[in-house]
């Protein structure tokens, strides 16, 4: 047994498994993992190794088949508690964009800010500023089907950042991007990580350059962690 760390981890998975099809498909197998405030983590591994499943469990949009997920002191948060966390503290960037087809790029960013302080003008201003950072301000009035894959990807990243989350869970944020744009996005994520209180980052990526830059690397194989460069011992919730 590892000794208990002083403070609770931001996110913790304790012997978590996720299976599908009545246990015939094992997407994630007995994973124990702690994520601490201020870490910049790369999750990599071949296709189908369980990266998306892992990241979805970290935001509560996926529920484990067995094991326990906790956020700080919240052990197995309820669906409503997870929703509130995603509204304020956890930002998500989806592998397959998940933009609303009836809304423009800017509106897609704005919708995640409903329920946060500030009116329509504040939401608008922040959405445009984020799209500017992503280099697609000139596309802000277009709907997803009018955007290229790379532009959709960047609109998705802008939405994930809209509420200034403490932790960003990004599933392959640089795929579909040319190398220059991809590099710019990576630089921006590192910048957000280093600035102020420092946004905690969990990034799923196949990009060797990005993986190399991360302070912690987790490699998955067939749903199990086969490599974790963490130097901090896993946190254990008090018995």
């Amino acid at each position: 047994m590892m000794p208990a760390a002083a403070a609770p981890a931001l996110l913790h998975l304790e012997r978590v498994s996720r299976t599908y099809d009545g246990g015939r498909i094992v997407a994630l197998r007995d994973v124990t993992l702690s994520i601490h405030l201020g870490e910049f983590i790369a999750v990599h591994g071949q296709s189908g190794s369980g990266k998306s499943t892992l990241i979805n469990l970290l935001s509560g949009i996926e529920i484990p088949t067995s094991g326990v997920v906790s956020f700080e002191h919240l052990v197995s948060p309820s669906a409503a508690a997870w929703t509130a966390l995603r509204g304020r503290r956890i930002g998500i960037v989806f592998q397959d964009f998940n933009l609303l087809p009836t809304l423009t790029a800017a509106e897609n960013v704005e919708i995640s800010m409903f329920g946060q302080p500030g009116g329509a003008a504040v939401r608008r201003g922040r959405a445009l500023a984020l799209l500017e950072d992503m280099g697609i301000a000139h596309r802000s009035g277009l709907r997803p089907q009018e955007l290229s894959g790379g532009e959709r990807r960047r609109a998705g990243i802008a939405r994930g950042l809209a509420n200034r989350p403490e932790i960003l869970l990004a599933d392959e944020p640089t795929s579909n991007l040319d190398s220059a744009t991809g590099q710019a996005i990576i630089d921006l994520l590192f910048d957000l990580h280093q600035r102020g209180h420092g946004m905690t980052m969990v990034i799923v990526s196949h990009d060797p350059a990005l993986i190399a830059r991360c302070s912690r690397r987790i490699r998955l194989l067939d749903g199990a962690i086969v490599e974790d460069t963490s130097t901090v011992p896993a946190w254990r919730p008090a018995a």
Partner: protein
């Protein structure tokens, strides 16, 4: 983007679905309003027409299913006239008769000589005199028949000369024709018979006096019914049946509107499961999602309700103009039922949205996201 802005975008950017729902709701509401207008019009018609004539009580044959089958001897007027408190009595023979080949109108045979209250307000012309086969047309009827003073009209296929244009304003009166009683009796082969007696009282405002007259008239014959103007059509079975069936259909129309909204919203939720999953995944609470669907439902219902209220009003006017003119029934689409209908539509829209909203809010984000 404001909250209402978001709701409107969701509706406007799905123009097909939104407009069909709106139309469906509008039609249902319009149907409801037109039909309630018919029953209201039925109730108003007799009342307005008899009030305008200055009548206090009407005597008819009791238990008649069809209004015009009431059949009383003209001389009964003499017995009624002797009752204390009766100021005047006048017999009227009524019939719904063909004008020309394809028009119908209400025709009244009036005792034009012995009516102290007959004062038919004439816009033009005069009252018909005995033996000339003259007719007075109400304004609306004259207009519909394109007839004026001097025109000959075919009434039940017999020629009558238009001698006056009446100035009555109630729908029933302005849509009817008036002949001398004897000439209508001859035309219909019902000499000495009338449909009803119109009475004026010496003290019309004294309820006790009026009830005394009523009782005395009723005592003359067992088959008489004496009504105040408001009750005349209510005591008539066929009118009551028509009113009841239009009330039933109008309620069905309103329920239809609610089901339509429900159907659209349920479909909207099914086809937007993925979208709802996205909203849940980016931190939208269950209540905000419910609010979105409810809000869209209420907006659709309100827009459909308002469109329907306007369409119902126009539909009522059209129905009166083209179908019911000869019946003397005005379709009175009024503000109160229109407001009721719109409020009901919005309420049903809200109710209709609760089920799909509840359904949507129960989805787990990944389950919803997997659906395309």
């Amino acid at each position: 983007m404001t909250w209402p802005g978001l709701l409107l975008r969701n509706l406007v950017r799905r123009p097909g679905r939104s407009s069909f729902t709106l139309l469906g709701v509008a039609l249902a509401i319009a149907g409801f309003l037109t039909l309630t207008g018919v029953s209201k019009g039925l109730r108003d018609a007799s009342q307005a027409s008899l009030r305008e004539r200055g009548i206090d009580l009407v005597v008819m044959q009791r238990g008649m299913v069809e209004f015009f089958s009431s059949n009383l001897p003209e001389i009964l007027a003499d017995d009624i006239r002797r009752i204390p408190g009766v100021a005047s009595v006048s017999g009227e023979l009524g019939a719904l008769l063909p004008f020309g080949e394809d028009n119908h109108a209400l025709v009244g045979g009036w005792q034009l000589d012995n009516r102290p209250f007959e004062a038919i307000p004439l816009i033009r012309g005069r009252l018909p005199v005995a033996g000339e086969h003259g007719v007075i047309l109400g304004q609306v009827l004259a207009e519909a028949l394109h007839a004026d003073i001097g025109t000959t009209v075919l009434l039940q296929f017999s020629p009558f000369k238009v001698v006056g244009i009446g100035g009555f304003t109630s729908p029933a009166n302005s849509g009817m024709a008036v002949l001398r009683l004897a000439e209508l009796q001859a035309l219909l082969g019902r000499p000495g018979r009338v449909t009803l007696f119109q009475m004026q009282l010496t003290r019309p405002d004294n309820i006790a006096a009026r009830e005394a007259v009523r009782a005395a008239v009723s005592a003359l014959r067992p088959d008489l019914v004496v009504s105040v103007p408001d009750e005349v059509l209510k005591t008539n079975r066929s009118v009551a049946m028509l009113a009841a069936s239009s009330a039933a259909i109008s309620v069905a129309a309103l329920v239809m509107a609610g089901l339509l909204i429900l159907n659209t919203l349920v479909m909207a939720v099914e086809e937007r499961t993925h979208e709802i999953g996205i909203l849940a995944a980016i931190g939208w609470s269950r209540w905000r999602i419910v609010g979105l669907i409810l809000g869209e439902g209420v907006i659709l219902a309100a827009a459909g309700g308002l469109t329907g209220a306007i369409a119902g009003h126009l539909g009522g006017l059209a129905l009166y103009r083209f179908v019911l003119l000869d019946s003397g029934i005005a379709i009175t689409v009024q503000l109160a039922p229109a407001i009721t209908a719109v409020v009901c539509a919005v309420g049903l829209g809200g109710l209709g949205a609760i089920y799909p909203a509840w359904k949507a809010s129960r989805l787990s984000p990944t389950a919803a996201l997997r659906q395309r």
